[in-house]
């Protein structure tokens, strides 16, 4: 049976949620969306139904949050509760029904990002944990980790600095660069604390898009072929959380290697597995639509020998 971090919402039945809940976490501009756009077609090629969801996308509150943020007038507590409303709406109307129907739910951020943002803004840690404690525990959280020095060029050369991502509400006297640096440094510290507490699988996101995707793909394969976390014993999957063991585990399971269409990999070359032709194509297709910053990263990746 599924579990939550605390309370169970009225009317939410946690039995028979047979799908998998896979969270991609990471700070602003780290490449979460790019990776999800690669993971989704890859999973669908294997016959898995996928629901992609993210923050501020609920039909109830999504638009309201966007409008309110444009006015820059939200208080810290208000913003946290607005996000919580949005999250509850998506949990009840998208995530739980999809899990019940056996989907793989890929979520672009989860409550952890919302908690990190709130904590940086001085919100009481016990209060924020309570506010999101109705969240379902996911099967796995992949945390795309990056240092602020690697993050800055990605943001500058793609979309530029955003008011909220730069924490301008916290450092109004600074310029966007200084504020972004400070804010993201604080945010990454909070993420590191959460990564430990909630046992994130940490993926180094300072490398290129394809290398990150290969790690994610192996991790996802492993989660999908493993015993469901919330059906049988719980602590087991958490023990397997170390990403460096992922390729071996994936290979050890015949279902994983055949399903991923990838040729079996030698365990000693886990950093550069051969991507499938289709996956590689998806890389380029998605990169073409991407902003310049992401494209630079992909080009750099393609300059490297992949075998």
């Amino acid at each position: 049976m599924r579990e939550t971090y605390g309370v169970v919402l009225p009317g939410m039945n946690l039995t028979d949620l047979t799908g998998r809940l896979i969270v991609i976490e990471g700070t602003d501009g780290v490449g979460r969306t790019t990776q999800i756009n690669l993971l989704k077609p890859w999973l669908e090629q294997q016959g898995r139904a996928v629901l992609v969801t993210g923050m501020t996308r609920s039909s109830l509150a999504g638009k309201g949050i966007k409008q309110a943020k444009e006015g820059h007038t939200l208080g810290r507590v208000t913003l946290s509760l607005f996000y919580s409303t949005d999250f509850a709406d998506r949990l009840e109307n998208e995530i739980v029904p999809a899990l019940r129907a056996g989907f793989v739910v890929l979520t672009d951020r989860y409550t952890y990002s919302l908690m990190a943002r709130a904590l940086v803004r001085g919100i009481d840690p016990a209060w924020i944990r309570n506010a999101y404690s109705f969240a379902l525990k996911p099967d796995v959280v992949f945390y795309l980790r990056i240092g602020v020095d690697d993050l800055i060029p990605r943001v500058v050369f793609s979309r530029g600095f955003d008011y909220w991502e730069s924490g301008m509400d916290l450092h109004p006297s600074e310029d966007m660069y200084e504020s972004f640096r400070k804010y993201q440094t604080d945010l990454l510290k909070q993420f590191d604390v959460l990564a430990e507490e909630y046992r994130f699988e940490v993926i180094d996101a300072s490398t290129d898009v394809r290398a990150i995707f290969d790690l994610l793909r192996d991790g996802v394969s492993r989660v999908l072929t493993a015993e469901p976390l919330f059906a049988a014993s719980k602590p087991q999957a958490a023990e397997e959380a170390a990403p460096e063991t992922a390729p071996q585990l994936a290979e050890a399971s015949p279902a994983a290697s055949s399903a991923s269409e990838a040729p079996p990999q030698a365990p000693e070359t886990p950093a550069a597995p051969q991507p499938t032709p289709r996956a590689a194509e998806a890389h380029r297709a998605s990169a073409a639509e991407e902003k310049p910053g992401a494209k630079v990263l992909v080009n750099a990746a393609e300059g490297e020998p992949s075998t």
């Binding site: 605390g6 309370v7 919402l9 009225p10 009317g11 039909s59 109830l60 509150a61 309201g64 309110a68 007038t73 939200l74 208080g75 810290r76 507590v77 208000t78 946290s80 509760l81 607005f82 919580s84 409303t85 509850a88 709406d89 009840e92 001085g122 919100i123 009481d124 016990a126 209060w127 309570n130 506010a131 404690s133 109705f134």
Partner: protein
């Protein structure tokens, strides 16, 4: 972030609670008149009135999109916006703030909808503790008669129709509001709320309110000269 507790602001905060038809809004209006006449800078703050959130709540209610969880959270969001941008600044400025419904409304309704009682109380932990809180106690039959005299029927969420207690709005209203009354009664001792018998003549209730408010206004600023 400040937690629920005694505030040290210059202003005062008085709140009225009770089910619809208990007469609490009438009493608050009379209190407002009196405080103004006495020269206090007095401001109303209504439940569910944040300009940021109100339209979302309205749309959610109209389309019956709200579940117990989102009903609870959208009202908490609305309340937080009013707390951060309206009530706290007014209290800092020394105003007498009057709230028609406060956190106790949320506790009663949300718990009646099945939300965890402790969780909801913690959720509203950022709220300022009122200087004085009044609960207008009224038998359900009396409240229903007053409501139906004033309008045609019961609203969807007010009758708890979202809970599927009964297809008949009147039956559903009765069940849901009885549960709310039970929750209010639990809170009267828990939060030291002053119960007022809402079947008494209006003037008698108002006299009781004014008497208590007077004792708590000691150091409040008179922002304007009394006429």
């Amino acid at each position: 972030m400040k937690r629920y507790g005694e505030h040290r602001f210059a202003g005062k905060l008085f709140v009225v609670e009770g089910i619809d038809g208990s007469g609490k809004s009438t009493q608050l209006m009379l209190l407002h008149q009196w405080l103004q006449a006495e020269g206090y800078g007095t401001v109303f703050s209504e439940w569910n009135s944040s300009p940021l959130v109100r339209d979302i709540t309205k749309r959610g209610k109209k389309k019956h999109m709200l579940t117990p969880a989102t009903f609870c959270l959208i009202h908490a969001t609305d309340f937080a916006d009013r707390m951060e941008h309206n009530i706290i600044p007014l209290l800092k400025a020394g105003a007498v703030v009057l709230c028609d419904r406060y956190i106790y409304t949320a506790f009663a309704r949300d718990v009646a909808r099945g939300m965890d009682s402790k969780w909801v109380r913690e959720l509203y932990g950022f709220a300022v503790k009122p200087t004085g809180a009044f609960y207008f106690r009224v038998p359900l039959e009396v409240a229903m008669r007053r409501l139906l005299d004033a309008r045609d029927g019961f609203k969807f969420y007010e009758a708890g129709m979202d809970l599927g207690l009964s297809g008949d709005p009147e039956v559903s209203f009765r069940l849901f509001q009885s549960h709310i009354i039970d929750e209010y009664e639990k809170m009267v001792p828990e939060y030291d709320i002053t119960g007022v018998d809402a079947t008494l003549p209006i003037e008698a209730q108002q006299a009781q309110m004014r008497q208590l408010v007077k004792t708590k206004l000691a150091q409040a600023k008179r922002l304007r000269v009394a006429p």
